[in-house]
Subunit: 196 residues, 2 copies
Amino acid sequence: MRTRNIEKEQLVKQTAIEMVVNDGFEGFSVNKLAKACGISVATLYIYYKDKDDLITTIALEEGKRMTTISLRGFDPTQSFTDGLRIQWKNRAEFMLENPLSMCFFEQLRTSTYQTKVMEQILGDFKEAMHAFVNNAVERGELDSMPLEVFWAIAYAPLYSLLRFHNDGRSPGGKPFTMNDDIMWQTFDRVIKALKK
Amino acid sequence: MRTRNIEKEQLVKQTAIEMVVNDGFEGFSVNKLAKACGISVATLYIYYKDKDDLITTIALEEGKRMTTISLRGFDPTQSFTDGLRIQWKNRAEFMLENPLSMCFFEQLRTSTYQTKVMEQILGDFKEAMHAFVNNAVERGELDSMPLEVFWAIAYAPLYSLLRFHNDGRSPGGKPFTMNDDIMWQTFDRVIKALKK
DNA sequence: CCCATAAGTAAGCGATTATTCACTTATTTT
DNA sequence: AAAATAAGTGAATAATCGCTTACTTATGGG
């Protein structure tokens, strides 16, 4: 039998992400995707069951890549400051090296695919984070607080900075590029807000 | 001459927002909107120049409503803690009372309408915020810091909580309803992170 | 009252949507 | 070399897209 062209498959995935990032899901179509890849639209239906399957499969693959990197070197039993610092480092690293992926996830999060995809992607993640916070509270490093409050203070500021960086402008409308100094300065303040 | 049906116009606006919130811009179409409102699609083209004009006009109206409420009782010269507290109160109040509007803005922010609409909406806002931060720094209440850092710490946690509330679930996947206690507990930590 | 005029509509335009089908091409196995 | 089979395609489907046109309806000023 004829062998499948792996490069074409990768091209489809990359191009699909670019299309969604540039024009949103409203501007995405399988016909346009096929044309942009220089293949027949019918070929897409060999790779994927339908449009929905195409999006969710690509999202899940990309999500797995992200969670793997984000949990690298992370251990729920390590000290609170160390654990959170690694989380910030990993997440920032992934987002800065894969700005397209970051934009793609933002599109997913605010789309109808949200419940279908994001919960699966963030599954392992949430579990590890829950254990991590509980350990820190038990050791007395952290006040007990609702998980939503922890999440809002510990991670929302990081993602806010990353979004400014990705949009290329600050809240004042001026150009903005994230750097280590700004990031760790923010991290220190977040620690101050969380620790006893 | 025949008089315009104001109720129909309001119905169009409300229904358009609901459609975008429920199905995203990908699921929004002028034909569906007209059908949902029980009017002819041609009538929409009396109210609005085209689809783009429909979205941007509605977005700008809704945005004006939000910024007006958010700046109510706010004065860039007042003390840092008081000013930020009023901001949190106003923004939370609007978002909790207008969950549909909040979702609509989230769709706008992550859509191709972003640059066209969000900058106009947030214009006055950013100006007031800039003056407010500068004053607080001059009075010595606040460390000087990049505006992005301020924004990330001062507001990102609030919006994070509001999103959890709106989605109806916490980061752990459990049901979540925002209340005053959780909100002001978070506020206190944010103040701790920002003040000298 | 009546008519000028804006409000409102039914029907349909060409373009694009997701998906399918009958078909050809390339490669592995025998 | 030939048979078997998956990979890949061009052209078409019905449905829906944004938008227009030719037309009818309702109402305020004369």
